[in-house]
Amino acid sequence: MQDDMTKPIATFENLRVEFQTKTGTVVGVEDVSFEIKPRETVCVVGESGSGKSVSSLSMMRLVEFGGGKLTNGTLKFTRKSGETLDITKSDQSLMRTIRGNEIGMIFQEPMTALNPLFTVAQQLTEGLRTHKGLGKEAATNRALELLYLVRIPEPERRLNQYPHELSGGMRQRVVIAMALACEPRLLIADEPTTALDVTIQAEILALIDRLKRETGTAVMFITHDMSVVAQMADRVVVMHKGKKVEEGTVEEIFENPKHDYTKSLLAAVPKLGEMKGKLLPEPMRLMGDENTKFKPLTGSNEPLLLVKNLTTRFAVKSGFLRRTVANVHAVEDVSFRLMKGKTLSLVGESGCGKSTVGRSLLRLVEPLSGHVSIDGQDIVSMSPPQLREARLNMQMVFQDPFASLNPQMVLKDQVADPMRNYNTHSGDALDRRVEMLFDRVELPRSFLRRYPHELSGGQRQRVAIARALALNPKLIIADEAVSALDVSVQAQVLNLMLELQSELGLSFLFISHDMAVVERVSHDVGVMYLGRIVEFGPRSKIFENPQHAYTKALLKAVPIADPRQRKSEKELNFKPLASPMHSLDYEAEPSVYEEISEGHFILTTDSGY
C-alpha cells in the first residue's frame, strides 16, 4: 500500500489532440504533460479555448465523440488492481468499464447533467448496477449512503424525487454523488461550480475537498477561476492556447509565478479585500501598463438618480382564463440614490431582483409603484414619448456579449443605431462620431464593417459599450457586463469603464454577483436579497464592516485568490434561498432601515434571510 501512495494515478505524457474542421486541422492540446497522485487535487486553470476541458475529455476518451483525435502521447492510468493502462491505446469497450467506475466525472451544468425523466434513485443506482453488479436493494442502500455522504438535506425523500424538484445546489450534490458512486480512483470535475451562486459554490467546493480527504480519490479540477484554484488546489497546471505554461504547488503559483502568462492572469484577478483602506475605486494594475497615471475618481455629491420605494412584481398566470394566481415579488420597496460621476453597485445572488431593478429604471419592465427620478424628472409617470426622450440619458450594457448584438447588422450600424433613432447626428457627423466611439473603446476602425460573429467576447462587449456611449448618456446601467468574460478581458473592460468614468463624468449602476469586482469599481454598494436592499452604504463600510447577516454570509462565501486564506466546510453553513413568490393576498411590509453610521444603512425589518 505504501507503494500505492506515491505511484501517480493518472499521467499525461506529451498529449496532443487534433480536431478536423472545414478550415483544416486545429490543435486543441499540444505537448501537455503532468501527473495526478492519490489524494491530490490538481487544478487545471486557463481561459476559454486553452484546452483544459479537452485534456480531461481525453482522459475519459470522450474527446473522440466531440470530433477530436489523440494523435500523440500517452495517458497512463493506474487501475484498482494496480496495473497501469495506456488510455490512448485501450478500446472503447474497455473504456466503458473504466468510465463512471474508476474515473468519475462532474459536469458544469447541474440543470442539464441529470436526466429529467428519471428519479434520483434510478440515476444513482444505474452505475452501481452495471459496474458493480449490485442488486436493486443493495444499490438503493448504497445510493442513500452516497446522499448522506454529500450531505443533501432529507436524503430519504430525495431518492424518489425528480431533478426538477431539487434546487441547483442539491442537483450538483446528486451529480457529485453519481460521480462517486463506484468509488472512483480519479474524479474529474469540469467547472463544477461555475453555474452556481457563490454561497452554493462555497459549499460544493468544501464538499469536494472533504470527499477527497475522506475517500482518498485524486481530483482533477478544471476551472477558469483563480480564486477557486486558491481554495482547492494542491498543485496547479496553468494552460494557455493548448499548451501547459507552468506547473507547481499552489503556493508557488500564487506567490512566485514564473511564466509571464501566469503573472498576467494573477494580476487580472480582483482579490477580495485588496481595496481595504482605499476610499475610491481604482483600475486593475495589469501587466504592461503599471506606469499609467490615473485621475482619482472622486465623483460629486450631486444626486443624479433617485429611487424611492420601487416595487416590481410579475404575475404568475394559470388556468384557461389566464387568471393571476400569485405574484413574484421581484423588487420590493427599494430605495437608493446615485451621485453624478460615481458608481453604485447592486450585488446579490441569482433571483434577488438586481437585474429587475436595472430594467425597471429604464421601464423595460414596468414597475408596480415607486418613484424613479433622473436629474429631477420622474420616470415612472412619463408618457411613452417622454420616456423615449428620457432614455437619451440612460443606457444599458448587458451581460451576454453573444446575445446583446444583432447578428444581422454590421457593427457600424449597431453603434449608429441609437443616434439614428434620436436623430442626433447624421451624414458625415454620424460616421465621424461612430469612428470616434470605436477609437474610444479601443477597437480598430477596420471593425466598422464587421458582423458580430467575427469578434471575440471582449471585443463584442466593447461594441456594446460604444453603443451605450453613443447618445452621451449621464447614466449607464451595466447589468453583469463583465460576468461572461475571461478574467484578463474582464480586467481590461473594467479598466475601460473606469477610464470612461473619469473622462466623461459618467455614473454607473453596476449590477453584479461578483463581490471582488464590485469591491474594485464601486463608490457605494447595495446588497440585495429577495427583492430588497438589506444593506446599503459606502463601499468601504460594507466590505470592512458588514452588519447584516446576509452580507456577512455573502462575504464569507466568496473564494479568495490566496491559498493561505482557505475556508473549511464547518464555517460555511448558508440558508437556502427562499422563494419570492407569494399569494395574491400577501401584504409585503415596507422596508425600514437603521442608519448605523453616516450613510450606512441596514434593513431592520424581516428580509427573509
Binding site: 478550415t23 423595460l364 440612460m394 444583432n406 441609437p418
Partner: protein, 294 residues
C-alpha cells in the same frame, strides 16, 4: 505578439453577411444544388417556352391519342387531339405562378399575424392564436373549394384560396421565433436606445427570424403547386388557362387507354415539387446555425 498576428489575419477576412455564409454552405450541398439547377431550367422553360414553342395548348392540332414521339409530337396528343407538350409548357407558367403567389400570400398573412402575436403577447396573442387554430382545424381542401365555388375560379381567387388556407404553419413558426428573439438582449438594447415598436418588429427581429420562414416558404411553393393540381383535378379552376393539374383532370377518364396523358403532367409536378423540397431542405441546412461552423 500572437494577438497582433490574429488581428492581422482577422483584418484580411472581409466582412461577410451571415446570409452570404449560408450561400456558401448551400453550395456544398450537391442534392440541393442539382435541384436548384433543374428548378431554374423549369422556370426558364416556363418563362421563355411559350415563345419558342408557340402552339396553342387549346387548339386541336392532330388526331386524338397519338402516343409520344409518333407523328412529330414529342409528348403526343390528348383525347381532343391537343398537343401535350404545349400544355406542359404553358401549364408550367400557371402552376409555378400560382405556387409562388400562393406561397407569398400565405407568408404575408402568416408573418403579419405571427409577428404581431409573438411581439405583443397578452390578449393580442390569445386572439390571434385562437384565429390561427380556427383556420388550422378547417379541412383545407374543402375550405378552398368553398371559396372558389362562391367567388368564382379566376387565377386570383385560386391563389387567394390556397394562400388563405395554408398560412397557419407560417404564423406559428413566426410567432415562436418572435417569442424567442424578443427576449434576447440585443432587442432589449435596441429598445433601450429608443427604437420604436415598428422598427423592432421589422428591422431588428424580422431579419433574425427569417431563416425558418424562408425554408417554410420554399416548401410552401411546392405544396401550393400540389394544391392547385388538386383543385384543377376536381375541375375547380379557370377553364381558360391550362395548368398541369388541369391536364391530369381533363384526361383522367382515359388513364387506362392513354396513360401517358396523365403520367407526363404528373411527372412534371413530381419533379418540380421534389426539386423545391430539396432546395428547401438545403436552405434549412445552410441557415440552421447549429449545423454551421461557429
Amino acid at each position: 505578439m500572437a494577438d497582433a498576428e490574429q488581428q492581422i489575419t482577422q483584418d484580411i477576412i472581409a466582412a461577410r453577411h451571415p446570409f452570404l455564409e449560408a450561400w456558401q454552405m448551400f453550395r456544398q450541398n450537391h442534392a440541393a444544388m442539382t435541384a436548384l439547377v433543374v428548378l431554374s431550367l423549369i422556370v426558364l422553360g416556363a418563362i421563355f417556352g411559350p415563345m419558342l414553342y408557340p402552339i396553342d395548348p387549346f387548339e386541336m392540332v392532330w388526331a386524338p391519342f397519338s402516343p409520344p414521339g409518333v407523328d412529330g409530337f414529342i409528348l403526343g396528343t390528348d383525347y381532343l387531339g391537343r398537343d401535350l407538350l404545349a400544355a406542359i409548357i404553358h401549364g408550367a407558367r400557371v402552376s409555378i405562378l400560382i405556387g409562388l403567389s400562393a406561397a407569398f400570400v400565405s407568408v404575408f398573412i402568416g408573418v403579419s399575424i405571427g409577428a404581431v402575436a409573438g411581439f405583443y403577447r397578452g390578449w393580442v396573442e390569445e386572439v390571434l392564436m385562437r384565429i390561427t387554430e380556427f383556420f388550422q382545424v378547417l379541412p383545407t381542401l374543402l375550405f378552398s373549394m368553398v371559396i372558389v365555388a362562391l367567388f368564382g375560379s379566376s387565377l386570383m381567387m385560386i391563389t387567394f384560396s390556397i394562400g388563405v388556407v395554408s398560412w397557419t404553419a407560417v404564423a406559428r413558426i413566426t410567432r415562436s421565433e418572435y417569442l424567442r428573439i424578443r427576449e434576447l438582449e440585443y432587442v432589449m438594447a435596441s429598445r433601450a436606445s429608443g427604437s420604436t415598436d415598428a422598427k423592432l418588429i421589422f428591422k431588428v427581429i424580422l431579419p433574425n427570424a427569417l431563416p425558418p420562414i424562408i425554408v417554410q416558404a420554399a416548401l410552401m411553393v411546392g405544396s401550393a403547386i400540389l394544391f392547385e393540381a388538386g383543385l384543377s383535378f376536381l375541375g375547380l379552376t379557370d377553364p381558360n388557362v391550362v395548368s398541369w393539374g388541369q391536364v391530369i383532370g381533363s384526361n383522367r377518364q382515359y388513364i387506362l387507354d392513354a396513360s401517358y396523358t396523365v403520367t407526363i403532367p404528373g411527372i412534371a409536378i413530381f419533379v418540380t415539387v421534389l426539386c423545391i423540397s430539396l432546395v428547401g431542405d438545403g436552405l434549412n441546412d445552410a441557415l440552421n446555425p447549429k449545423l454551421r461552423q461557429r
